[in-house]
Assembly symmetry: C2
Homo-oligomer: 459 residues x 2
């Protein structure tokens, strides 16, 4: 039926390009996680908000599911069209619409990627700090409330999105937020759509807050005898220093990165650190952090002083997921994403390791420990039912521990297909009922990325 | 009828204290602005979330309006029960529920005041930075998304509230957010209730993010020949320095403060500045800011180096509104609260002065210019219809200018009774329709602070 509607209309809807070739459907039907792929019926490439409105109205009229697609770097199955329908590829909406350097503001279309944005602003001395590792689109990052290595200093997407334009499920275009630094005018619609995972509407423009590039940046590696010591050092540093980045990388991940990138980092639990600010304040911060690392038994504290070595360090960190996949060709990724209050981090890391050992899985541990956010990552053959069930049990134990300590089931990846089931455990029934009421209000027909996030019961 | 219901039930609802004495009703029926007072039928003092639930259910059953009340320091009529009903005085819910210094987190009841909170935390080396001037309650500050002098560095309430407990209009208790630094789990209910001005539910607990007290703090006054120069200097400073506070105070306000507080500040347009951080970085920042002030014609740059002089400076700034009222006994306050992109600030200040002169009003200009947020304040006899209409025209012209420049009608006071009419002009019809749908979803009977904020048509 759905196929027929899309087929009959030839090149629906409106003037946007429609593609149905096998390879393109496949590319839009999977991600690199363990979640089962599912093909869309068509991939549509809108070029403007008006075209998005036409497509959404068409989808609403014919009850066709719509799944926005950026670059497909989601780690929780967000882009998989589990009920078919239209994959709405936003890559042609990639213009920088307005840049106001004096106001530290830029407005972009959702298909602009993080690196595209930062390249365009390079000569201005400004940058957009949120950095999830993948060269994701700003639209995708907004939809999942992404964060990453810089969040300890600059916050997550929700802290950096000033306003949005969103096409709702009935085709209305809503403008939220604005360009003022702050506002108390009306309900905070911007914050509601940030992190809504495509389930409340299609984002068509995003106004972002920018930052000045710091005067001085210094990166360092602190090598520890064990991961618990590294975790404790991270907690001390965050309490004492305005750190730029503090990333925990375990032995397994360092070995995988060395193999994948040709680096020669010692395969020991390591903190990757970055300090930024004025020259004097950076020097002070570095001295204090180094002392705190040594107090926790750090054996080596090595500077990556020139910009090339620094770039290499962060490229290595960012390639961790891919490096782990490369070690296990043919397998797919499953990753936890809990975030706990920072003092609970050492206990959470210990519990995660103990759980993995108890189930007999070799997993990597890495993450944005300055936020209390870490990932236990596994590669898995998704056709191996037994392993899949066992790993889901590991995932579940790690989440349950984090929630008992006041944490969250997902610090930055979003609920997607894998984490929705923990929502009641995290917030209680009443909050989830309210979230479902909001979904019902904004998408009564249920065409917006059905079955994802808050809509997890609708599979 | 309403009176009868409340009367018949003797001491409704539940065990909470109910007061109906004239003086208490009057105290809860007005604020110090031009908005017309209106008495509640009763003032109820809940002592727990469960009591709030009982009261809300009682109100819902009998269709009785409910208006949460903190200390009554709102500047836009939020606490005035324009339809009578119950004024819900939260002052007895003033416990600090949980303090986790290592996680930089505290959870409080809504009746805790800002100064009570900071006194309780003093020995920990931490503080809560949002500072609207008045010693408001955390509940009231949350409900209006308050900010104030520290926002240029630490953001507004929405940036600093991690989670809430809220009693909805049907008596359900909803828990939002949590204690993790960040989360991508579900819709951002916390951000929706922050700034909802009591129209979506009654806040019964608030989890706040804390900050470490900076190593060094230095305050200074920079005196300028005219207000435009002071505004331009503020813009330059914010672009170049991680300033702690930057407040613009005009001649008229300085004169009023001197009279009210017995200070001897020169009655000239002045920036009140605060620098905070490590000793070396503060010294660098001070040097740069001073240079930028001199470039704009600053005649004197004076340090308030000891903590007593510094406290006096900020106390003077905070008493500005009261000092202006004291100059005009018997009159009430009307204040604009626009916030514009920072580069638009000098033009907005010029326009505001020109508008006031054109209408023949003497108004004070002061504000948090580091955010592009300033207030044009007037004292007025609210019974003088002609003046009232003329001042509303001034207010309206200032708002219209700000909106045309990408700003907001209210940077920090909230919509309350006075600013709701600008909502469509600011966001467009579609966003306001969506806001009204949210109000309808969460408060279908319309008992939650009716006629305020987004609900402005319901007068």
């Amino acid at each position: 039926m759905l196929q027929a509607i899309l087929g009959d209309l030839g090149s629906p809807p409106g003037r946007a390009k429609v593609v149905r070739t096998e390879s393109v459907l496949e590319q839009h039907g999977r991600d690199f996680t363990y979640h089962a792929p599912h093909l869309p019926h068509a991939v549509v490439y809108p070029e403007s908000a008006v075209e998005v409105q036409t497509i959404v109205q068409f989808a609403a009229d014919h009850d066709i599911p719509l799944v926005p697609f950026g670059v497909g770097s989601s780690l929780e199955g967000h882009v998989i069209p589990i009920k078919g329908g239209i994959s709405l590829d936003m890559s042609r909406m990639n213009r920088i619409l307005e840049f106001r350097p004096g106001d530290f503001i830029v407005r972009v279309e959702p298909g602009v990627t993080r690196s595209q944005l930062n390249e365009a602003m390079q000569s201005s001395g400004l940058f957009f700090p949120v950095d999830p590792g993948a060269d994701a689109t700003i639209g995708g990052m907004t939809a999942t409330n992404a964060s990453g290595t810089n969040a300890v200093r600059y916050g997550a997407m929700r802290d950096n999105v000033k306003g949005l334009e969103v096409v709702l499920a009935d085709g209305r275009l809503v403008r939220t937020g604005g360009m003022a630094v702050k506002s108390s005018a009306g309900y905070n619609l911007t914050g509601l759509f940030v992190g809504s995972e495509g389930t409340l509407g299609v984002i068509t423009s995003i106004t972002l807050k920018l930052q000045g590039i710091p005067e001085t940046t210094v990166a360092a590696r602190a090598v520890f005898p064990d991961i618990d010591a590294a975790g404790r050092a991270a907690v001390s540093i965050v309490g004492a220093v305005a750190i730029g980045r503090v990333e925990l990388v375990d032995k397994l991940t360092i070995a995988a990165v060395n193999a994948y990138k040709g680096t020669h980092y010692e395969a020991q639990p390591t903190l990757f650190l970055e300090f930024a600010g004025s020259k004097v304040s950076v020097n002070q911060d570095v001295d204090l952090a180094r002392e705190l690392c040594f107090l926790e038994g750090c054996g080596q504290f090595l500077f990556e002083s020139d910009s090339k070595a620094r770039a290499q360090l962060w490229e290595a960190r960012h390639s961790a997921a891919i490096a782990l996949m490369a070690r296990n060709p043919g397998k797919k990724m499953m990753t936890t994403d809990v975030c706990v209050p920072i003092t609970e981090l050492p206990g959470a890391l210990f519990h995660a390791r103990e759980t993995m050992e108890r189930y007999g899985f070799e997993g990597s541990i890495l993450g944005h420990v300055g936020d209390g956010n870490y990932h236990a990552g596994f590669t898995i053959d998704p056709n191996n039912e037994k392993d899949l069930r066992a790993l889901e049990a590991v995932n579940s134990e790690i989440v349950t521990y984090a929630l008992a300590k006041g944490g969250t089931c997902t610090g930055e990846h979003g609920l997607g297909l894998g984490k929705g089931k923990y929502l009641e455990q995290e917030f209680g029934d009443e909050a989830v009922v309210l979230m479902r009421q909001l979904k019902q209000l904004l998408d009564p027909v249920g065409i917006m990325n059905p079955g994802k996030g808050v809509d997890f019961l609708n599979r």
